[in-house]
């Protein structure tokens, strides 16, 4: 068996294992829907009309929910990544990973199995958030091509966040060690263009919001879904995603190569 086909076979086996874990606890999937949906209800129902009126032209004339949903969708991708980091961290402390390391299998299959399963799980939860948004009155104006591009951008972001989450899960000594990452992916969207355009922010926060990775990704997704011009954001979004994915991948690989300490 060649190295490549062995990697593929073993990765498929590991993927089955990880997907079984997800299916055995479907509440994890539902939990990851909880917060994005609550935020959606809060920002549409409570702050919606005030924010929509305040935004004026920035909301492209449409209702506030149309401006908001791309940001919420990206946030749910972030929550998926925190779940991934915790799952990887817990799995690495299990004795079975030590067993895998003593077997003649492709070592990268262990990480690939996690990444593919987590990406799938996160995309499913992102899709469910989108469905809830549509039920609440979100009316995208995207044509087929734009939808495909939007799904592509989303998948790329989820893949990037997942590789980073896997590395974080490997690096952290325990579940508490993952909390910094959780905080980061939860706070960053708030200081991005998710809820209000950076133009309406002030000083340093505005500069940060304009330059942090979530903003170009959200703006790209918003442009694609609402049918407004995407502009230079797409390039920045793809660059950020590829950079994060590559960094996470290399970091995770190096961490996994170390001798286990447990």
């Amino acid at each position: 068996m060649t190295t490549l086909s062995r990697t593929a076979t073993d990765s498929a086996t590991m993927l089955r294992r990880n997907l079984r874990h997800v299916l055995r606890f479907p509440d994890v999937l539902l939990m990851s829907l909880g917060l994005p949906v609550i935020l959606l209800l809060l920002f549409v129902g409570v702050f919606g009309s005030a924010l929509g009126a305040g935004l004026g032209g920035a909301a492209h004339g449409g209702p506030y929910i149309d401006y908001l949903v791309p940001g919420i969708v990206i946030m749910s991708a972030g929550y998926g990544a925190t779940t991934t980091a915790l799952a990887v961290n817990k799995d690495m402390t299990e004795g079975i990973i030590a067993r895998f390391r003593t077997m003649a299998i492709s070592r990268s299959s262990i990480l690939i199995g996690h990444v593919v399963a987590a990406t799938t799980r996160t995309l499913v939860s992102v899709g469910l958030v989108l469905v809830v948004a549509l039920l609440m009155g979100f009316r995208p104006a995207a044509d087929l091509g734009a939808w495909i591009a939007a799904i592509g951008v989303l998948t790329l972001l989820v893949l990037a966040l997942t590789w980073l989450a896997v590395a974080i899960g490997l690096a952290a000594r325990n579940a508490e060690g993952v909390s910094m990452f959780t905080l980061l992916v939860q706070v960053l969207p708030f200081t991005s263009s998710a809820f209000v355009p950076p133009d309406s922010m002030s000083g340093a926060v505005r500069w940060f919001a304009e330059h942090e990775p979530f903003t170009p990704v959200i703006d790209t997704l918003r442009g694609l879904l609402l049918g407004t011009p995407v502009g230079g954001d797409a390039g920045a979004a793809v660059a950020w995603c590829v950079g994060i994915a590559l960094g996470g991948y290399l970091w995770a690989k190096a961490l996994f190569k170390r001798d286990p300490t447990g």
């Binding site: 068996m1 062995r6 076979t9 073993d10 086996t13 089955r16 294992r17 079984r20 874990h21 055995r24 606890f25 299990e94 004795g95 079975i96 030590a98 067993r99 895998f100 390391r101 003593t102 077997m103 003649a104 299998i105 001798d259 286990p260």
Partner: protein, 319 residues
């Protein structure tokens, strides 16, 4: 196959490992013949687990030469991994999957194919008395069931060399007996077993050869019998009906230790037949009547104490 049969299954020379300033393995040499059980015996912290982790390719060594099943550990770790099975101290099972799924997972990773994997899983479930629990999540298993599943998973793919790190620690006496039976069956099939234990009784029961490890060094190595014969402590114990008999016997036998209260004399010796006959003849000629005679041979507890200078505090757990 004659060449492989004569080659040791595990050969270790000058194995060293430190964690920071702490030297865990300080030059270990071992040779395990194929088809035998070899026990690494030592107290907690002696370096047993570290040795197994290195031999099973889990962590790297700082120095020394190791070959397992004919594969050089440093040069061909994949070859080693293909020939070994490992059951670590902490159970290496997937709690979220069922027992059957765990076994099929192992079969898939050994690339056995779907049909063969299922057949083997069913066979192992039956052999390890887990059929009733096959469809239950392993998280609900008892300690003994987890260990049995753990070992069953290790056997998938027919490894020729099996490492067992404290296979019975934490098990109740009945589960321990079951585990011993399983290990004996394995060796009957020609598998080589290297196990670690802190229980002298276990090493005595299972092992063909024992290496006693203390502070990262092998302090003694041999068959259980050889190790026992290396320590003094064997004696014949004679009890007499009265003080007069005790005094008379003491006068005849010369250098003995006596216990006035219990009317007992202890005569040094290993209880060999010739020595025993000689002893009885001398007492007979002196006309002394002996109420009771017993022979005390040294057990591994004595060995352990003599070699490491510490009693086996873990002894109670073995009972």
């Amino acid at each position: 196959m004659t060449t492989t049969a004569s080659r040791p299954a595990v050969k270790v020379a000058g194995l060293r490992k430190s964690f920071g300033d702490h030297v865990v393995l300080d030059g270990i040499d071992l040779e395990v013949a194929a088809g035998t059980v070899f026990a690494l015996l030592g107290p907690n912290g002696a370096g047993k687990t570290t040795a197994v982790r290195i031999l099973s390719t889990l962590i790297g060594a700082d120095g020394g030469e190791v070959s397992v099943a004919g594969h050089d550990l440093a040069g061909d770790p994949e070859g080693v991994r293909g020939a070994i099975g490992v059951t670590g101290q902490f159970s290496a099972v997937d709690d979220l999957l069922t027992g059957a799924e765990n076994l099929v997972l192992m079969a898939d990773l050994r690339h056995l194919g779907r049909v063969e994997g299922r057949r083997l899983a069913a066979e192992l479930l039956a052999r390890f008395d887990l059929v009733g629990a096959a469809g239950k999540r392993v998280g609900t298993y008892s300690g003994g069931m987890r260990r049995r599943l753990d070992l069953a998973m290790t056997l998938v793919g027919d490894p020729r060399v099996i490492f067992l790190d404290e296979p019975t620690t934490g098990l109740d006496p009945r589960s321990r007996r079951t585990m011993w039976e399983i290990i004996r069956e394995l060796v009957g099939d020609g598998v080589t077993v290297l196990l670690t234990t802190q229980y002298l009784e276990e090493a005595d029961e299972l092992a063909d050869r024992i290496a006693v490890i203390d502070h990262g060094r092998v302090v003694a190595e041999g068959t259980p019998g050889e190790l026992k014969s290396r320590v003094p402590g064997g004696h014949v114990r004679l009890r007499f009906p009265d003080t007069a008999g005790l005094d008379a016997a003491a006068a005849v036998l010369g250098e003995v230790s006596r216990d006035e209260d219990d009317l007992v004399l202890q005569v040094a010796g290993d209880g060999g037949v010739r020595a025993l006959r000689d002893l009885l003849d001398r007492l007979d000629r002196a006309g002394t009547e002996v109420a009771e005679l017993s022979i005390h041979t040294p057990d591994l507890d004595d060995v352990f104490f003599a070699l490491t200078g510490q009693p086996t505090t873990e002894k109670d757990g073995a009972r």
